[in-house]
Symmetry: C2
DNA sequence: GTCTATAATTAGATAGAC
DNA sequence: GTCTATCTAATTATAGAC
C-alpha cells in the first residue's frame, strides 16, 4: 500500500484517491474561512487535505477557482438548510404562520452558522473591501438570500410582530448577531471560556434572537 | 522643495515630514481593516501614506509592530468614545439611570463602529483563527471592554429591562449586530445601494438596537 | 530620516517524469 | 492523476548612500 519514489530517498506516499477534489474543497473552506483569501496558501490547503500543492491546479483551474467552488458549495448547503421555510408567495399567508416560519428561519440560520462557520467567515472577510470576488458573491448568492427574507420581514413589520427595524438594516443586524459567535469562535473561547459550538450555546442564542427580533410572537399569551 | 536624487534619473520627492509615523499608522488601519494582516502589504500601506516601504521598518519595528500600534490606537479611541458612559460602580445606581446609560453606550458604540470601521474589521479578521495576535488583542483590549459592560447587563437582565439573553451571548449579539454594516460596508453598498455611513442609516440602526436589546426601556409610556 | 537597491523567503502556477 | 522540481512574481526586511 506504500511505495517509495524510485528516484528519491524521500519517504512519501503515492496515492490514488477518487475523493481528492472533495478533500481539497473541504480543506479550502476551512483555510479560506480562518485566514481569508490572501492569508490562506494553496500549500496549507493541500497539506490539510493530505495532498500536494500542484494538485489544486490540476483539480481546479486556480486558487481563485477553488475559492469560487468553495463558496458555491457553502451557499448550496445554506439553501438546503433554509429550503421552503419562508413561503415564496406571501399573499394569503396568515400572520401567525408567517411569524412562526420566520422564527424557524432564524433558528435554522443560527444552527447553520454554528455548523458551517466558514460561510460567514468568508463573507465577512470578503465584505471588508471591494473586489471582483465580492461583486460576484453578492450578486450570485447574497442577493437571492436577501430578497428571500425581505418581503416577509416587511409584512411582519407592518403588523407589529417584527421589531421596529428597516429591511436593509435588519438584514445586517440579523446576520451579524446570528453569526459572530461562530465566525469568531476562537475569540469566544479565549474571552469567555465557553464553547459557542455547544448545543446549549446555540439554542440559547437562537432563542434570544427570536425573542428580540420577533417580540410580537410571544407578546400575547 | 523638490530635488532629484543625484545618482538616478528617477523623479521622486525627497521629503522630510514630521508626521510620517502618524500617516503610516492611519494608512495601516485602513489596509489591515480592508485586507487583514496577511492581505495587507507593507508596500500598499506605505503607498497610501505616500511614503516608501522601508520607512515602516524605520518608524516601527516590523509589520507586526505596526499592526499592534494600530490596534492600540483604535482601542484608545474606543475607550475615549465610551468614557464614563456606564458607571464603574453599580451599587446604588437606580435602574432607570442605568438603562439610559446602557442605551447611550449602545448608541455611542454604533456611531463609533460607523466612524472607525477599521477596529471591528481587524477584530473580525483576527477572530477567525487562533494566533498570538488574537491572544494579545483579546487579553489586552477586548477583555476590559467585555468586563465593563457585563455587570451592567446582568443588573438590567435581573429587573427585566434588558432582553432575555445571557451575558456572553449578548456581547456577541451586540457587537455583531452593531458592527456588521460598517465592517462590510462595501457589501452593503453592492447589496442595498444604500450608504451605511450616512447619518440616517446610523441613527436608525442605533434606534433599532436600543429597541430590541432594551425592550423595557420604552415599555411603559 | 529618506530613499534605492537588494537579500531572503514565500507565494501561485507549470513542466515533465512516472 | 500523482509527485518532484522549478519558474516567476511578490513579500518583509536590511544595507548603505545621501
Amino acid at each position: 500500500m506504500q511505495s517509495k519514489a524510485p528516484t528519491s530517498g524521500k519517504v512519501r506516499l503515492r496515492r490514488a484517491r477518487t475523493d481528492i477534489r472533495e478533500a481539497l474543497l473541504e480543506s479550502a473552506l476551512v483555510e479560506f474561512g480562518a485566514k481569508g483569501f490572501d492569508g490562506a496558501s494553496t500549500r496549507a490547503i493541500a497539506r490539510r487535505a493530505e495532498a500536494h500543492q500542484p494538485q489544486i491546479n490540476y483539480h481546479f483551474e486556480s486558487k481563485a477557482a477553488l475559492w469560487t467552488a468553495a463558496v458555491d458549495y457553502l451557499f448550496g448547503l445554506l439553501r438546503e438548510a433554509l429550503q421552503g421555510v419562508i413561503p415564496a408567495e406571501l399573499t394569503g399567508v396568515d400572520v401567525p404562520r408567517l411569524a412562526a416560519a420566520f422564527a424557524d428561519a432564524i433558528r435554522r440560520f443560527v444552527r447553520f452558522a454554528a455548523e458551517h462557520p466558514e460561510l460567514n467567515q468568508i463573507m465577512v472577510h470578503e465584505g471588508t473591501a471591494a473586489s471582483d470576488r465580492l461583486t460576484w458573491m453578492t450578486q450570485t448568492h447574497v442577493k437571492p438570500f436577501f430578497d428571500g427574507i425581505r418581503p416577509a420581514w416587511q409584512v411582519l413589520r407592518n403588523v407589529g410582530v417584527a421589531a421596529p427595524i428597516d429591511n436593509e438594516i435588519l438584514y445586517y443586524v440579523l446576520v451579524g448577531a446570528a453569526s459572530l459567535p461562530y465566525v469568531n469562535a476562537p475569540e469566544v473561547r479565549l474571552l469567555t471560556g465557553r464553547d459557542p459550538s455547544s448545543p446549549q450555546w446555540i439554542e440559547a442564542h437562537a432563542d434570544g434572537l427570536v425573542a428580540i427580533l420577533l417580540p410580537g410572537l410571544t407578546a400575547s399569551p
